[in-house]
């Protein structure tokens, strides 16, 4: 694999070092000893640890060979090897492949248009509007969810479950675990299958389409500069876009970010300032007749997103993120590919999310049984009055944590009964968007980031959301804004 040309005295060549290491390796690694030797010279951490364990006897001698070789090269050995490999590849290509003359194809022209900041950003906004808002939001989260809820759950599954529970479980307090407003079947199960399943299916369908067309890296390169200011790189566009579908799923996808620092910042921003499709739907419904209110809401949320990202990136230690991504050619997505991908992802997502939903259901049952909810609603009334909202909103906020749609729908009821004026509406929408993510996301934060950071993020979000709403309320009142 590596060319045997070398520049120094023979006993210090890479090839000699490989030979010496091969002779010291005793254990059968499944890879050829030569590959192991080359990986050791490249200082591959994983292989180094493996050899240290399996070939303990020869390990110190191997280390000596690696370190000795390093003193003869100005550059890291991995770099020298990469150059050797590259030369070899070029030699083979020269003999075997002839390239056609380059001309800039239509595909390439389109690609450059998408990467051009003046045209690319409006195109991105259009794709988001039609793909996320119209297709996933209005059609998937609206029409399809309504259909499944009313025609399947309300008609068949819920009555069936109620019937079975009433017949086979004699204890009243256990009934509420399974049925009723917050039961495992009527809430957790229904929430997962009637709401989350269709939304994620439509979302993943949209996501697979833009992924397979090669569009995602082009968005990433457009947004990298902005994201650098908030401690993220263009790569983070993937979890952030996913966050508009379901922030819980997006938190899981922060795994693709290369450093812990980026993962923490992304998790915090997803918890705080990225509204999921369930929230977006109801907020749009609340504010749609009031464009100015919608504008203020979007402006405040966007500003908080950038501000908190910026401040966090200043506070958190660690290196600045680096951005590099291959820009694949644009392609027409293949339908079968998109369907298979969507199916596999929905399945994977469900396996991760279902236990969390069931746990949430049990927690709610316990919380209600122990009257913790009434207590929490009372606690919430104070801060809500402070941000200028009626006490009735407390229930909407608390239950919003368990069922985001319920929280926002609670506000919708208040607004429909004329209990909220324009300013109160904007303030409550801002507070609800920033407020604690739903319980599933809360549990996911802990699962992905650990207890300390997961709870830390939630406590911060709790206080911060009310502080922002408080300030916004005062500012709007002082300016005499009437919405």
């Amino acid at each position: 694999m590596i060319k045997r040309d070398y520049k120094g005295p023979i006993e210090n060549s890479i090839e000699m070092a490989i030979e010496k290491i091969v002779n010291l390796l005793q254990y059968d690694y499944y890879l050829s000893p030569r590959s192991i030797a080359i990986l050791l010279l490249q200082e591959d951490e994983g292989i180094r640890n493996l050899v240290k364990e399996k070939d303990a006897a020869g390990f110190s001698e191997i280390e000596q060979i690696v370190n000795n070789l390093k003193t003869y090269y100005k550059n890291p050995i991995s770099y020298e090897l990469a150059i050797e490999r590259q030369n070899e590849v070029n030699d083979i290509l020269k003999k075997a492949v002839r390239f056609a003359k380059d001309s800039i194809s239509f595909r390439e022209r389109l690609s450059r248009l998408l990467m051009n900041p003046v045209l690319g950003i409006p195109v991105f906004l259009l794709v988001s509007y039609f793909g996320l808002y119209k297709f996933v939001g209005q059609f998937g989260a609206g029409t399809v969810v309504d259909f499944i809820e009313t025609n399947i759950f309300d008609k068949y599954i819920t009555p069936f479950a109620e019937n079975m529970v009433a017949r086979f479980i004699p204890w009243q307090f256990l009934h509420e675990l399974f049925i009723g407003e917050y039961g495992l079947i009527t809430m957790a199960f229904r929430y997962a299958f009637a709401i989350i399943l269709p939304i994620t299916a439509f979302f993943f369908l949209f996501f697979s389409l833009i992924e397979d067309s090669g569009y995602l890296p082009r968005i990433a390169m457009l947004i990298d500069r902005t994201f650098k200011k908030i401690g993220l790189s263009g790569r983070a566009v993937i979890p952030m876009v996913l966050g508009f579908g379901c922030a819980t799923m997006a938190t899981m996808v922060t795994r693709i970010l290369p450093t812990k620092r980026e993962r923490i910042i992304a998790t915090l921003l997803l918890a705080l300032a990225v509204p999921c499709s369930a929230q977006l739907g109801v907020i749009m419904a609340l504010l749609q007749h009031n464009p100015m209110a919608l504008f203020i809401w979007a402006g405040v949320i966007g500003f908080i997103f950038l501000l908190v990202g910026y401040l966090t990136s200043k506070i958190l230690p660690g290196d600045r993120p680096s951005f590099y991504m291959e820009i694949p050619p644009l392609r027409m997505p293949s339908l079968s590919n998109v369907i298979v991908k969507t199916y596999v992802r929905v399945k994977w997502y469900f396996k991760e999310i279902m236990p969390i939903f069931l746990w949430a259901g049990v927690l709610i049952w316990l919380g209600r049984l122990a009257k913790i909810f009434d207590f929490l609603v009372d606690i919430l009334k104070g801060p809500l009055r402070a941000i200028g909202l009626p006490a009735e909103a407390a229930k909407a906020f608390l239950f919003g944590f368990f069922r985001r749609d319920y929280g926002a729908a609670g506000l919708y009821d208040l607004s429909a009964h004329g209990k909220l004026d324009g300013v109160q509406l904007v303030v409550s929408c801002v507070a609800l968007t920033l407020f604690l993510p739903c319980i599933a996301q809360f549990l996911m934060n802990i699962k992905e980031r650990g207890w300390k950071i997961g709870i830390g993020i939630s406590v911060f979000v709790l206080f911060f959301s009310f502080s922002v709403a408080y300030v916004l309320n005062i500012v709007l009142k002082t300016l005499g804004v009437i919405l």
Partner: protein, 78 residues
Amino acid sequence: MDKKIILPLSKLDLHKKAKVSHIKTEDKAMLQRIIAIGALPNIEITLIQRFPSFVFQIGKSQFAVDKELASCIYVKAV
């Protein structure tokens, strides 16, 4: 003597053919990224775009990178 100037990729004119002369970085992780991209000495490279990110072409592949990475790759015009 070769009179052609060597400059970082970030300063190269757009659409001008160049060859990588060397990589300059003390950061091992950065070097690893550049190796992964394949921007190694003697490879032909063309800059396609510099804003909002640097986009360049190597062979049939295109890459988008930030300024820090583009500044580590030194090139000479061909």
